[in-house]
């Protein structure tokens, strides 16, 4: 054809393609107005004091009231360093080879009580979190103190600039600051007040917390992002009974489910009853794992630990205990959900991921090498929390261990005693559940695998592994870091430090008119509600 025709065809086709595929994901224009009813699984344990708890029951309803320095983009489903956007910080930059992190804060931001927001609030919050010797306030309970061990000092040279001086380079610090776990508290409010009320800078102002019933928010008219939030209000309704929660979702009494609380089967049932419900499966960044006390026999013997890991058929567990609502993976959340997941071929090469017909005999052989035989059997006590889903998981594992010659009895520990029991090492083997804030190796490994960490319930301590953890933490080249983290995951599973069984999926249910509420690969990070709007 002629050149002119070809050009015109090309332009037309390109235009068509651009129109068809090039339009942004948000194809509708958000409308302002309306309120949402959101499920709350239990009454808030410590009110809005996110810094004093780790439970989603506090983070989920408290996030709308607060702001971070930076946050994971609510509209992007997979979190990573590339999806971090600014909230109270307008711009930031790493200086001195990732040793200093400078934040340029937004101007004209006000707290809900009218006080101006300045760098003083940021310095106050993070000095308190890292328990600096001259910190003006102290948290009664400080679960994430370890996130800030690398912070040397925090400087606030002027009201709109904050500088974090680190001891060594740590690109992951940004990931931890972007998690829902890291809001900024007001310097003029004692931290204890957050347990009863919330003074934040966030898109919603607290209207009322009727204990045991609901938390109600209204739109913050002075919010620093113009045109946000879209919604006029939010209501988090406390429904403690599972059955009533499901009934509420089905009847439309609530519009949004509670993250982490809807199993695959429940979601299927809801979808069948109300086909227009939107169900989104996603990984919660919560995994099932086995902890083994390495300070005492028999689990101080690496062969025994490896035998336990090999004996458990992870894929069968996913089916039996979670009805398919989970995925197998190593110590970082697997692909396609997590950013650091091992590639399939690496995963399948790990101990315990082969065919059960191969793995179980190898497990038996390992046990024999460790001196365990039918004449000299191994009897242990497995502990777990006294909650149905944990007990189901533990029962499955006990059954698997039976098949290789380990007799395990089950002991249930009350929730209030669990952490104390595990931290003290008052157990032999346990079926455990671990939730991690951001999908980041630093957040995971320092907490759960580092020598001497209180949550390293297995008392695992390996010098080489510590070196690997420190190394990846300071690695600036993303490709190199990915390879180092992959090697770390392999080593941890080979050592059977804390055999990982599966990563749980949640099936987030919401009414179809709820827009822009996108679950991320961590339940703790997407509750800000700033971008959410109602289509009806």
């Amino acid at each position: 054809m002629s050149r002119r025709r070809a050009t015109i065809s090309f332009v037309v086709v390109s235009l068509a393609l651009v129109i068809a595929f090039g339009t942004p994901a948000i194809s509708q224009t958000p409308k302002a107005g309306g309120t949402l009813n959101i499920t709350q699984r239990e009454d808030l344990p410590q009110g809005f004091a996110i810094h004093e708890t780790s439970t989603i029951s506090t983070v989920w309803p408290a996030m709308p009231c607060l702001n971070n320095l930076v946050l994971f983009d609510p509209l992007k489903k997979t979190e990573s360093l590339d999806t971090i956007i600014g909230e109270l910080a307008e711009k930031w930059s790493w200086q001195d080879n990732y040793r200093n992190l400078v934040f340029f804060l937004r101007k004209g931001v006000k707290w809900h009580d009218g006080q101006p927001f300045t760098s003083k609030d940021v310095k106050y919050t993070f000095d308190m979190l890292r328990e600096a010797p001259d910190a003006p306030a102290k948290l009664r309970i400080n679960p994430r103190k370890d996130w800030y061990t690398n912070v040397q000092t925090i400087e606030a040279p002027d009201p709109h600039t904050v500088i974090f001086h680190l001891k060594r380079p740590q690109p992951s610090l940004l990931m931890m600051l972007a998690s829902g776990y890291t809001p900024v508290y007001a310097a003029h409010v004692p931290p204890a007040n957050y347990r009863t009320a919330c003074i934040g800078t966030g898109p919603f102002k607290l209207k009322e917390w009727r204990k045991g019933e609901f938390v109600e928010y209204v739109k913050n008219p002075d919010y620093f992002v113009k045109g946000r939030p879209y919604l006029d209000g939010l209501k988090y309704i406390v429904i403690a009974e599972r059955g009533t929660r499901t009934a509420a979702l089905q009847s439309g009494a609530v519009d949004v489910a509670f993250p982490g609380e809807t199993t695959k089967t429940a979601a299927e049932q809801l979808k069948k009853a109300v086909p227009e419900l939107a169900v989104t499966p996603y990984s919660q960044n919560v995994n099932d794992n086995i902890i083994m006390n390495m300070k005492k026999p028999p689990f101080n013997n690496a062969k025994v630990r490896l035998a336990v890991s090999r004996a458990i058929d992870r894929r069968a567990l996913v089916q039996a205990v979670h009805q398919g609502g989970a995925v197998v993976g190593a110590s970082m959340a697997p692909k396609p959900h997590g950013f650091w997941g091992l590639l399939d071929r690496d995963l399948n090469a790990l101990p315990g991921y082969g065919k059960p017909a191969d793995e179980k005999p190898r497990a038996k052989q390992l046990l024999a090498e460790a001196g365990v035989t039918p004449q000299n059997p191994l009897k242990v006590e497995m502990v777990t929390r006294a909650i149905a889903v944990y007990v189901d998981m533990a029962s499955f594992v006990i059954n698997e261990l039976k098949q290789i010659g380990i007799e395990a009895s089950l002991k249930q520990i009350e929730t209030a005693q669990w952490h104390a029991t595990a931290t003290r090492g008052d157990y032999q083997i346990g079926a455990n559940l671990t939730g991690i804030g951001p999908d980041d190796p630093d957040a995971n490994y320092f907490e759960n695998y580092a020598c001497g960490s209180p949550r390293n319930y297995s008392f695992y301590c390996d010098e080489q592994v510590m070196k690997m953890i420190e190394q990846q933490s300071q690695e600036l080249d993303p490709k190199k870091r990915f390879a180092q983290v992959a090697a770390l995951q392999k080593k941890l599973e080979d050592d059977a430090a804390r055999p990982l069984l599966d990563w749980k999926l949640d099936y987030f249910v919401r009414r179809p008119f709820v827009k822009n509420l996108i679950p991320h690969q961590s339940i703790y990070n997407f509750g800000r509600m700033q971008e959410v709007w109602r289509d009806k």
Binding site: R242, T246, E268, A320, L410
Partner: protein, 301 residues
Amino acid sequence: MVSPIGVPVDLVVVGAPARPGWGTVLGRFVRRKPLGAIGGAIMVVMLLTAVLAPWLQTHDPIATEAAYTLGRPNAEHWLGTDHLGRDIYSRIVHGAWASLVVGVGSTLLGSVLGGIIGLLSAYVGGKTDLITQRLLDILQGLPLLVLALVMSASLGPSIRNVIIAISIPIIPRASRVIRASVLSIREMQYIEAARALGVRHLRTAFRHILPNTVGPFIVLCTAQLGSAILVEATLSFLGMGIPEPYPSWGRMLSVSAAEYAQKAPHLVLFPGIAISLAVFGSNLLGDALRDTLDPRLRGSR
């Protein structure tokens, strides 16, 4: 015996009344109190189910079967399966065992302990009686469920502890009934006579008074059994009753039944029906026994 004129006659012995055999007593009971008989039959069926559970089950009650979750009742799973694929019929059968062990165990424990306390307290009388009754008042002042809840929280989850927790509120109630019964008997003439004859106290207590309290005691037990089963179910429902892995009717209702009730209503229906039947049976039986054994108590608590 043959009479002098060759016609067979039956000799009737005058004096001692003929004692009716068990069969006659039972037959009389069934005819006069048909509701009570039904109640008794239900309890017997439950007892047999509990005792024969391992033989009556069709599947292992704790074995999960991922492929067949929330299945409707059919030929293989008579009452369907739950969210983990466990057979509901087998779990109900074993639940009978758990509920009966706890129900009967706590009722017996509470009633016997309370009965002994009531018996001794009434017999000794005086200040000891007064103090004991006040102490028991303290226990009784708290509503049954609240006391059981707090006890259960204090003792921790285990079948033994649940039995203890439920038996504690029963003790004062049992003691009160037995004490009233003993007080009324104590004044009777033949006790005075026995004591006048110099029969030792304990002997008097156990040989003469005790057998007469059997009636009220049985009535008390059957009355409390129903409420014990209900309290156990409630405790399990609230998460503080019989722990895993024992199947418990109450817990079957709490954990996931309501959540999946749309797809599998049998999850909610069958355990609830089982609990109701058990309590219903024991109440029917208790009512009938009370009417038969102790007419004075007819119609009261």
